[in-house]
């Protein structure tokens, strides 16, 4: 017996391989659609022919120089901001976002907002600030005289979005001494000092690693009607700005490597310092990182130079991130128009700075994960693809993240799951032998869990918890869009979302533009469903309620014929004929067409379509075999379906199938557990 273990093990391997080759065809049929598509779904020729905007309307240009003190974790910045009034109204004031002040003290809007279920809940151990040193307005072109100091008039915004007064110092109003008429431009000279916070939320430092997002005084966005879309720094959303050109020279210790928005156009060493000049047009933000621990890999992906920055020992992660970019960049390009920039930086922060991971900035994204990757999962690829998708839904389609976060995070979560499915099929999140979990499934479970808790389409600061924000903005939006794709098809989705992404490239669309695109591409019914799901807590739950059939027989009862009444008590049964019905109900407010699959006693299956209108449908049945069961939405097209456990029913006289597979697996696992816990 001592040698029986290995011998028996070898015998079991042989038996296992033999058994694995067996198996009924029904299971293979059930899983026949597992294979992911090898290529992105084709867009329509009309979409492919749609001319893409080459450039954004250049509204605000920043020419900045920033010097990092890597020991004190400070940045001294100075430069100019050129702003053009692109609105239809004169401008008499500016609004500046001083977002690093979110980390100044516990009175900031950021510090006071709920963080339950969201990132960045760690205690801030070292605070951060941004202090303006200079803010002056240059004289108008042709005017003589000195610049006007604007600092004395600067007012920190003390009223939050709900109208309550607060002590937040991230949103500042700057009165102008003269009007800026539509089309006119002004130039500001600025200088400021940053103290970067300890990295507990996106930006700051961890050891010598520095990540600088929201690090400079930044103009809010001027809407076409002349109003400023300005906000304090919120915990869950922060982005909305005008497009422009950023010309930024970063001055860091010479041992550091820099990653930043846009390509390096000049680089040299000077006095023990590295000076990198980055220039990028057609973007609306600029972020950078500097660290003396970075390794890098460069690769050309379809004409885009991709640089991955990562810590030593993270080579495997870097390769996975590059693989994701290699696949996703052309995939996104095919669906939403080509990536217009020549450069993309992917930053993998060290584990001590993991909070800097999972963020998006123009031409720069951050990922994350341990050096040993995420075994049996595709989480590294998921984060990479998600942040890359933001180059479209945030970067190019520059929606207001604070007011309508679903337009970037939600739409992008849909795009992320789409790419991941194309890459990895059903194992897009967990990919273990015999057990896979898809991104679509995860999104459906979390997205549907909060369907009744709040509206998807609401400002970021209106969500009561971070968990609700996550589930409604990210997951539910993605589930809504994936449901529409599955129900109305890839082509309709392409005509809707693909057209939206192209039409609003370098634009700032709102929810109405989004829904209008679906109305145009998918039809009024789908657009109405989309609106209801986003704005009215729309939900749906399909259920099979009854499955009935009986042998077809002539009618019984009393019949008047030829002035004579006859009674038929025992009508003859038609040989081999059955008739009956399946009753399917639709609960909720969303109307979606759906398939119903009828299973007959002889094992055959039939599909019937229901347009989903009305609260229920009674599907008549007539056939040679008795009805055995019915399943509504057998392909799970309606990911929004709130409860899949009521999507099926057996005829009353049919034998229950039970759960033999679960019984077998759970018994086996139970035995292994007992063995593990035994004395």
């Amino acid at each position: 017996m001592l040698r029986a273990g290995p011998l028996a093990s070898a015998a079991l391997v042989a038996l296992g391989v033999a058994a694995a080759l067996a198996g009924p065809a029904s299971w293979r049929a059930l899983t026949a659609s597992d294979a992911p598509p090898a290529l992105p779904p084709a867009t329509s020729p009309a979409l492919d022919a749609t001319p893409l905007a080459e450039h954004a309307d250049d509204v605000v240009d920043y020419t900045l120089r920033a010097r990092l003190d890597a020991t004190r974790h400070t940045v001294h910045g100075e430069g100019t901001i050129r702003f053009r009034n692109a609105s239809a109204a004169p401008v008499r004031e500016l609004w500046l976002h001083l977002y690093l002040n979110a980390f100044k003290n516990d009175l900031s809007t950021f510090a006071r907002e709920p963080s339950t279920g969201y990132r960045g809940s760690a205690v801030l151990t070292d605070h951060g600030t941004i202090d303006l040193v200079t803010l002056s307005l240059r004289p108008a072109t042709g005017d003589a005289g000195a610049a006007t100091d604007l600092l004395p008039g600067l007012e920190l915004h003390r009223t939050d979005d709900t109208g309550a007064t607060d002590d937040d110092e991230t949103d500042a109003r700057v009165p102008l001494p003269r009007e800026v008429l539509p089309g006119q431009a002004i130039t500001l000279d600025v200088a400021w000092d940053d103290k970067l916070p300890a990295l507990v939320f996106r930006t700051g430092y961890a050891g010598s690693f520095h990540f600088a997002g929201q690090w400079f005084p930044k103009l809010a966005r001027l809407e076409p009607d002349g109003t400023w879309a300005h906000f304090p720094f919120h915990r869950m959303a922060e982005f909305y700005a005008d497009f422009g050109t950023y010309d930024v020279t970063l001055d860091v210790p010479e041992s550091f490597l820099v990653g930043a928005t846009g390509p390096v156009v000049e680089s040299h060493f000077e006095g023990g310092r590295l000076l990198d000049r980055h220039v990028q047009a057609d973007v609306h933000d600029f972020a950078w990182t500097a660290w003396d621990g970075f390794r890098w890999r460069d690769e050309d992906v379809g004409g885009v130079k991709v640089r991955v920055l990562f810590p030593e020992g993270f080579e495997a992660d870097a390769e996975r991130e590059l693989t994701a970019v290699r696949f996703a960049l052309p995939y996104f390009g095919r669906l939403y128009g080509r990536y217009p920039y020549p450069w993309l930086t992917v930053v993998h922060p060290p584990e001590s700075a993991s909070e800097a991971g999972g963020m998006e900035y123009p031409t720069l994204i951050t990922t994350g994960g341990a050096w040993y990757g995420a075994p049996l999962s595709h989480l590294i690829e998921l984060v990479t693809v998600h942040e890359l998708g933001h180059q479209y839904f945030y970067g190019l389609v520059a929606t207001n993240e604070v007011l309508w976060p679903f337009l970037d995070e939600g739409v992008n979560s849909y795009a992320e799951a789409d790419v991941l499915h194309a890459m990895f099929g059903h194992g897009s999140v967990v990919d273990a032998p015999g057990f896979t979990v898809s991104d679509h499934a995860v999104q459906a479970i979390f997205g549907n869990a909060s369907a009744h808790e709040g509206r998807v389409a609401q400002p970021a600061y209106a969500f009561s918890t971070g968990k609700l924000y996550n589930e409604l903005v990210y997951e539910r939006t993605a589930v809504i869009l994936e449901t529409l794709r599955r129900v109305y098809g890839d082509a309709a989705m392409s005509r809707s979302l693909g057209a939206y992404a192209r039409a609003f490239r370098f634009q700032h669309p709102g929810p109405q533009d989004f829904i209008r695109s679906f109305n145009d591409g998918m039809g009024g019914e789908a657009a109405a469903t989309l609106r209801r799901a986003l704005f009215d807590k729309g939900w749906v739950d399909f259920a099979v309620v009854e499955v009935e059939s009986r042998p077809t027989a002539a009618p019984r009862g009393m019949f008047d014929e030829g002035g004579k009444r006859t009674t038929v008590r025992d009508a003859p049964v038609s040989p081999g004929g059955f008739e009956g019905w399946v009753l399917v109900e639709r609960h909720g407010t969303l109307e979606l067409p759906v398939e119903v699959e009828l299973t007959l006693e002889d094992g055959t299956r039939q599909r019937v379509s229901w347009d989903g209108q009305g609260d229920s449908v009674r599907i008549p049945y007539r056939g040679a075999s008795a009805l055995r069961a019915a399943v509504v939405d057998p392909d799970h097209a309606v990911l929004l379906d709130d409860d899949l456990t009521n999507n099926h029913a057996l005829a009353a006289e049919a034998d229950r199938e039970g759960a033999p597979r679960v019984l077998e697996r759970a018994t086996y696992w139970g035995e292994l557990l007992v063995q593990g816990l035994g004395p």
């Binding site: 079991l12 694995a20 584990e351 399943v631």
Partner: protein, 287 residues
């Protein structure tokens, strides 16, 4: 009760007592079925009326499975309670079948064959108090070791990461945790030897532990290897079972029967390997 005759040391072999293997498997299968039935009842409630039964729960992507998990939250409390109860039963009441298996291996009837079940059980019951004490002592020692290991690992983690980088730091942490697990396993080996001494020599718990420590100290490598190769090889059938289950997915019918049979063979093989270790322990404490 018929007096039992100690089996000659070199003849203490698992293969000569298949009844011990069968008894341990029956015990484990019974507890496994209790757990499995509870989980299956949750699945059956939701998918028993699906034309494909619970097959959708095994679909790639896990959408129906996760949906069921979400809608069965109320069932988890009782199910978790059951798992805790089974775990306690497995560990504490499990001392009895374990002692019975040791008795079956260590003794024979006066005629030289396997002892009668009644006699084996009587011998096992007599050994239960001391075996229980040994189990508690072993558990306490293992828990203490693991706690200390986790504490040391977590305290040094930021320091080693700062000096060696994330991969280097994680490797140091992993090494500390690995050594802790090895140490706890060796404590378990001493515990097994102690229980063998309780049954074989009718020793008190303290005397058994002393004897076990003496035996282990005399031949640590040989005993660690004897335990180690058995422990390692017992995972091979589990891995094979996992590969097979992965390949078969949610297939039903005859395929499911084959899988169930295969899984039970895996369990029996593991029981046999465990019984082989029991026999080795009994031989060791005779030295």
């Amino acid at each position: 009760m018929t007096p039992l005759i100690p089996v000659e040391t070199s003849s203490i072999l698992a293969r000569s007592r298949p009844r011990a293997i069968l008894a341990l498997w029956t015990w484990e299968a019974t507890l496994g079925i209790v757990l499995g039935s509870s989980a299956a009842s949750v699945a059956s409630e939701a998918y028993g009326r699906h034309p494909d039964g619970d097959a959708p729960l095994f679909l790639p992507g896990a959408l129906p499975l996760l949906d069921l998990v979400r809608h069965s939250l109320a069932a988890y409390g009782p199910l978790l309670s059951l798992v805790v109860v089974i775990a306690a039963v497995a560990h504490l009441v499990g001392i009895v079948p374990s002692a019975a298996a040791l008795s079956e291996l260590a003794f024979s009837s006066p005629a030289g064959g396997a002892p009668r079940v009644r006699d084996t059980l009587a011998r096992a019951m007599a050994a239960v108090p001391a075996s229980f004490t040994v189990c508690v002592l072993t558990l306490l020692a293992q828990a203490g070791l693991l706690l200390a290991g986790v504490l040391v690992a977590s305290v040094q983690a930021p320091l080693s990461a700062a000096h060696l980088g994330d991969p280097g730091g994680d490797r140091v942490t992993l090494a500390i945790l690995g050594l802790t697990v090895v140490a706890a396993t060796l404590v378990g080996v001493v515990g097994d030897l102690s229980r063998a001494a309780v049954v074989r020599h009718d020793a008190t718990s303290i005397a058994a532990v002393r004897a076990a420590l003496r035996v282990f100290a005399a031949r640590p490598v040989a005993l660690a290897w004897a335990y180690g190769w058995r422990a390692a090889s017992s995972w091979l059938p589990v891995a094979t079972g996992a590969v097979l289950a992965a390949r078969l997915g949610g297939r039903g019918g005859l395929t499911l029967v084959v899988l169930a049979a295969f899984h039970q063979i895996v369990i029996v093989v593991r029981v046999a390997i465990r019984t082989s270790w029991m026999a080795r322990s009994l031989r060791a404490v005779d030295d």
